[in-house]
């Protein structure tokens, strides 16, 4: 059975390739959401197995979306991996690659690293 992944990131080109590359492994079904404001609604509607969430997005920051998702009964069990361009202090000083209780992975990211991380979190 394939893992269902929701990618929330405003970078259209980036999400295009991540979706293509993840699907090419044959292990994932991927839905892309480029509009941060729609992220929570999409998550509730689609109930993915895992969400890849960009931190720096116009409108709503990724951490805020994560907090909201954790408060909703329908979405609170969905694991989240933050995607980050590593531009803020806490992103480098946080220990064990965690931000706000979630794992994060820095852009640019090689697809096999991403797969490894997803396997670890979604297991």
């Amino acid at each position: 059975m394939k893992t269902y992944v929701l990618i929330v990131d405003d970078e259209v080109d980036f999400t295009f390739f991540v979706k293509k590359n993840l699907e090419a492994t044959g292990q994932f079904d991927v839905t892309v959401c480029n509009d941060a404001t729609q992220a929570v609604a999409r998550a509730k509607q689609l109930r993915p197995s895992l969400i890849l969430l960009d931190i720096m997005m116009p409108g709503i920051p990724g951490e805020e979306i994560a907090t909201v998702l954790q408060q909703q009964p329908e979405t609170k069990a969905i694991p989240i991996i933050f995607l980050t361009a590593l531009v803020r202090e806490e992103e480098t000083t946080e220990k064990a690659h965690m931000i706000g209780g979630h794992r994060f992975i820095a852009k640019p990211v090689k697809i096999d690293e991403l797969v490894k991380m997803i396997r670890k979190v979604a297991a």
Binding site: E11, D13, F14, F16, F17, V18, K20, N21, A24, M56, A85, L86, V87, R88, E89, T92, A106, K107, P108, V109, K110, I111
Partner: protein
Amino acid sequence: MTLNRKLSVWFVVVALIVGAAGVIWVQRAQVLKRRLNEFANLTTPALVALGQMKAAAIEFVAVPSQPSQEAYGRFREWLAVYRGVASDSGEQATADRLEEAGARLQRQAVESGGTHEAERAFAKDIDAAIALKLVALKRQREAVNRHAAAAVRLSILAVAVFAILAVGVGGLLAGSLARPIIRLSEDVARVGAGDLRHRTAVRSGDEIGALAQALNRMTENLERTTVSKAALEKAYAELQRAQQQLVQSEKLAALGRFSAGVAHEVKNPLAVILGGVEFLGQQLAGADADTKTALAMIEKSVQRADTIVRDLLKFARPSAASKERVRPEELVNGTIALLTYGGSLKQVTATTRFAHGETALEVDKNQVQQVLLNLMMNAVDAMPAGGSLTAATSLTRLADRPACAISVIDTGEGIAPEALPRLFEPFFTTKRDKKGTGLGLSISKTIVESHGGTLTVESAQGSGTTMTVTLPVSAEGSAA
């Protein structure tokens, strides 16, 4: 005693001396006057009386047959006058003898018509009286002369004594006035020349004493304000240093914000490129070797650009430096331990040499360790065939403040002279073929300077390089 009182006392003393001299002198003058009066009042009438007596006697014996009662009466009148002015018992006796002689002469003249013998005897008596009077006169004149001379001597003595006293007392007074003033003026000159610690020792209850105290108070105030001027200059210098550091950290903060923005804008396209390369790699799974090499080169470049952006962020991030007291030895040993356990030393032998004495630095330990690690890694890289790395600390001064120098010395290939001036420029690297990004030394320099220190290099091609980090030591001196 106030000056006013001192001067008053002096005037009283002088007035008493002058008064006493005056009183004595007036007394003497009065005695002299009396003597002169005596001389005038007594001696002259006596002589006149004697002359008149002689004339009267000659008259009443001139005509012996008719003795003149009238002439004898005149004789007796002048005798009374003579008696009246007789100055001593001798003259009274003379008067008695003259009276007796006059009476005898008159009697003889009446009885016997006069005799030459009686006349001669009388004339002899009169002449004797005159001679006697002349002797008295001489005596009196001598006495007057004596008194006059005494008065002159006394005047001279009084003038001399007065002059000596006036000069003596005046001198003492002037001295007692002038001495403290002279000392005070010397003290003022000394203070004026800049010796603000000097205090005048002049003590006195008068206005000069008050002036001396005022001078001491003034000097004290001056010393206080002068001392605080020095403190002010020091504080100003420190303020300037702090300001420079602030400007530096402001610059860093601005650079940090700028770099964060750049990093975000660069990393996202890098992520797209990497994703694209991987996608193409799958799509072109059966492509020729050149195509695969091209894709691999693109991916490698993406990784390289990513590393540079990471370093740039490290370099520019305004870190919330958490400063702590740490001993330089601890920093050096900790860094060497990192190299040793990380297996980075390879063929290189590391030794340390520490300065004597306790010194502590007030630094962000992680940042400074990052600097030392960077310097030591460079040193190891400079000795690919092995060599010796020495980390040495020494006490020195930086901008006139105590500082600690940490030197990293290698025996490697050295740095080419043309590379030295560009060594600390961002993105300048001599390890372009390897993993270097050219940011290590400029990051290190930025970190050291943000700690108020300096990073310097000495290198001779072929004989090695010495990199020295100099940091101000913590104000408290020794490590806690």
